[in-house]
Amino acid sequence: MSQKPLLKVSHIDTFYGSIQALWNVSLEVEAQEIVALIGANGSGKSTLLDTISGLIRPAKGGIEFEGENISTLNPFQIVALGISHVPEGRRVFPNLSVLDNLILGSYNRASRPKKEQNLSIVYELFPVLEERKNQLAKTLSGGEQQMLALGRGLMSNPKLMLLDEMSLGLAPIVINNVYKALRKIREKGITLLFVEQNVRRSLEEADRACIMEAGRVVLSGDVADLREEEEVKKAYFGI
């Protein structure tokens, strides 16, 4: 019926040492969708993203990207395939310039030829980065660092972007700007899977959502449907 999903996570278990963090998690993301991963702290959202991007290997289950199994690949190989993970806490390279940070984003062989092209796209989306391109990343404000992290993620020509807690520690105005940029990114045909603690915001921006609790997926589906779910209303809107 529908064509193959861009990303297919099937029944994965993930461990930190001997502690299990993900139980039988499954998730599908179609091309050009925006999917939100919602849940409280410790529910496993970041762990799921880390598992998809290869920072952690799942103990059980499979992950397919464009039909290919990626669950045993290294992070740098997964980036080359077209998945870009913007990690929690921004994690820009503090002692490198904004420009160097962006250039590093296009490190993988496939995106190097497109470096200049992608740079102008990033500057268009985030003009402040062009203004500050020679400044050290650590001198940027929180919001600017977030934009730098996003820009960096774009430099690798991704088909799918994993975004972990974009709004952490940012003022509401800044958060709005970030989401505005996300929408523009989506218009360029990039699929987004983002983690966000703010439920209301997530449901506003996403097409579909996936709610996690204690390492399991408890609810998932179209946002419109989810809004009506009693559980969602109760748990997160305090109704």
Binding site: F76, V79, V86, F93, L96, I103, L104, G105, Y107, S156
Partner: protein
Amino acid sequence: MFLELFADLSTPIMMGILLGGLYALIALGLSLVFGVMKLINVAHGDLVLFSSYFAYAAMTTVGMDPVVSLVIGVPLLFAIGFAMQKYLLSRAFAISMEAPLIIAFGVSLILQNFQQIVWSPMSRGLTTSYTLASFGVGSIRVPLAYLLDFIAALVVMFFLREFLNRTYLGKAIHAASQDRRAAQLMGINTDRVYAFAFAISMATAALAGVFLGLTFPFTPQSGVSFLILAFGVVIIGGLGSMLGTFLGGMVLGLAQTLGGYFLGAAAQMLFAYAIVLFVLAVRPQGLFGR
């Protein structure tokens, strides 16, 4: 009278400054590895010496000039460094925090013992026609080797800095040293980057070893002294700063030559060590570091 003292001091001061170049060159590799992988390679001094001994072997068996032998020596040490990180140290990092240090310690002693067996505890030197020459600035006469060391240090540091700042691999090395996870997410194969960083470190060690051999006599036990001096340069100069490394080298070079001038040749290393310990005690992050 003060002027007389100053005139007398001018030779050790000049020598100390030039010597600083050599020490900076020796410390370069240590600094790179420490900055990138947070590992103090306790075998560094012995690896530098290995290059000195290799050049010595080339000189005594086929009569090759030491600097020319670098054509083989540098790639050789580059390859050894790459293999050492890829197959030995990367495994060590995965085992525990102490493992890399202990393994490097093992390598250090293996090298020391090996060099002692092959070349005996007698002191050796890379003596060529030009090492015995001296050059003069005003009334000061300084061995030519010291000047060569200084120039070599400048050249190597310049190229290394350009490499680190301008090339993709260089930037990747910076990135991997600041945030390994984020670097991986940039598509950087951090294992390979670490191996390259270590290999580059060994390549500079190869250069350092030859110039060291041209300047001083060396024995299998000298490795420890050079490790301590290199470490001293790194902490005085601070990490991440080429200028700092250079200045750190000069501080220790001056400490040694002035110490030797005032306290006698036998005590000069002691004076340098004392400075290292002093800086460790007072400001471990260095005078120029971030």
